[in-house]
């Protein structure tokens, strides 16, 4: 009789652990897909440099960016806010790995088109996200009256970049950006038609929806009177919007202008306030 009670107890015990056993069995049969690192960056830009983020298929990002005049001008220009330059544009995801963009810039009346494509994804088998980015800028500020021999090709500037990012942790992501810029129209006395640069940047998330970003570009071919761009920004994400507030020493928003024509001076208080606003459809 005692034996029977013991056995009964035993069988009850086995029934009680059955739920746990069932769950453990499920656990062991789960074979997940390759786990990719997602959302290394919230926005499509760190500050002005592009991030490795690409819009999803059929996603449309509407972009409005401003860079105001230099803060140095003080209260008479309302710290630069009287002198706004604007970028209006859109970015569209054709597939999960390819997007196209077009924008119009106030500065030099530039139309810029771009293409962005993912080459490798950060995941359990590969540590880096690698994205290619190419832009062509069309300068429509040049007047044929001023330059009678001007041809359409002279208006063009090309940028080719490799965006290489690594999501270190939930909070920290880093990026490296080797860049090649070619200008069809240039002044050989002061600059090269081909310029090489390397950008580096990253973000630190302060909260779930707020991140602090920073980027620097070393331009190996810049003339002395230009500087290397250094920018800091704050990403604020609110559902369908991404709002980036920033300070930079390079006022231009085209890839080539930003990297090759930075004219501010952080030490001298000569820098620019601006923002990028993304609305996602």
């Amino acid at each position: 009789m005692r034996k029977m009670v013991l056995l009964a107890c035993l069988s009850f015990a086995m029934a009680a652990t059955a739920q746990e056993d069932l769950l453990n069995e499920l656990d062991s049969v789960q074979v997940g897909d390759e786990a990719y690192a997602t959302a290394a960056f919230k926005g499509l830009q760190i500050v002005t440099l592009q991030t490795t983020k690409i819009p999803a298929k059929n996603e449309f990002y509407f972009v409005v960016s401003h860079r105001f005049g230099t803060v140095k001008d003080g209260i008479s220009e309302f710290f630069g806010l009287d002198m706004a330059t604007t970028k209006l544009g859109g970015v569209y995801g054709i597939t999960e790995w390819l997007s196209v963009s077009a924008s119009r810039h106030t500065m030099l009346k530039v139309y810029e088109t771009g293409i962005k494509y993912r080459l490798a994804r950060q995941g359990s088998s590969f540590p880096l996200e690698i994205v290619g980015y190419n832009t062509a800028g069309i300068n429509t500020f040049l007047e044929e009256e001023d330059y009678p021999k001007l041809e359409f090709a002279d208006r063009l500037t090309y940028t080719s970049q490799l965006l290489i990012s690594h999501k270190v942790s939930d909070k920290v992501s880093l990026e490296l950006v080797p860049t090649y810029i070619h200008k069809n129209l240039y002044d050989p006395a002061i600059e090269n038609d081909n310029q090489f640069a390397v950008g580096a940047g990253g973000r630190v998330k302060l909260t779930k929806r707020l991140s602090l970003n920073m980027e620097y570009v070393y331009n190996a071919d810049k003339p002395d009177f230009y500087v290397n761009p250094l920018s800091v920004g704050l990403d604020i994400e609110t559902g369908g919007h991404i709002f980036q507030l920033l300070f930079t020493n390079s006022q231009a928003m085209t890839e080539s202008g930003y990297i090759t024509n930075a004219a501010g001076d952080w030490g001298d208080g000569d820098f620019f306030f601006g923002f990028n606003l993304y609305r996602v459809f």
Binding site: M4, A15, L23, L26, E237
Partner: protein, 180 residues
């Protein structure tokens, strides 16, 4: 005789343990839409589940990254800021269907009570609700729905979007389990 009874007791858990049904293609949907705002809903079609038919024990496991939204950005936010799926990759349920007798099941379905622990986002909560169980041949299908509050699982919804995400989320499941 006594020995036979002992043997019976010994075999009982073993025999009943063999009556197991399972799937890897169960569906779990959740719906947190507020009327007249953008749809907030997602579906996971690769949910694993197992049923021990003898005692009615059920275990369900869903990988949180498997939930698909219509809007990619919403999915990113779900993974990044709400469910924090890097930190909490799995949602599990382990519980019991009270009074389940698989020999009496039919294709039209019977209603039972299911109770158990739902674990997600690192928090566990007891769930008790009705469940419909149908059987056709070697397939037992468990369907039902229940409501949970994200706040109960430590999932914060920030003020700016709180009017667009329902306070109570409806979770629907459909688990067609095949005999192993």
């Amino acid at each position: 005789m006594k020995k036979n009874i002992i043997l019976l007791f010994l075999l009982m858990p073993v025999v009943f343990y063999g009556q197991k049904f399972s799937t890897r293609t169960g569906t779990v949907k959740f719906e947190a839409t507020v009327p007249s705002f953008e749809e907030v809903a997602a579906q996971n079609k690769s949910v694993s589940a197992a049923l021990d038919a003898s005692g009615g024990e059920v275990a369900v496991l869903a990988l949180m990254k498997g939930f698909r939204f219509k809007v990619a950005l919403m999915e990113e936010h779900f993974n990044e800021s709400y469910a924090e799926t890097d930190k909490f990759p799995k949602a599990t349920f382990k519980g019991k269907i009270e009074g389940l007798d698989i020999t009496k099941l039919n294709a039209t379905g019977q209603v039972f009570t299911i109770t158990g622990d739902l674990t997600l986002h690192g928090k566990t909560k007891k769930i008790t609700d009705r469940v419909v169980v149908t059987r056709s041949g070697n397939t037992i299908t468990i369907t039902g729905s229940f409501k949970v509050k994200p706040a109960d699982f430590g999932i914060e919804i920030p003020k700016v979007v709180s009017s667009k995400i329902a306070e109570t989320v409806t979770i629907e499941y459909n688990l067609p389990l095949n005999k192993q």
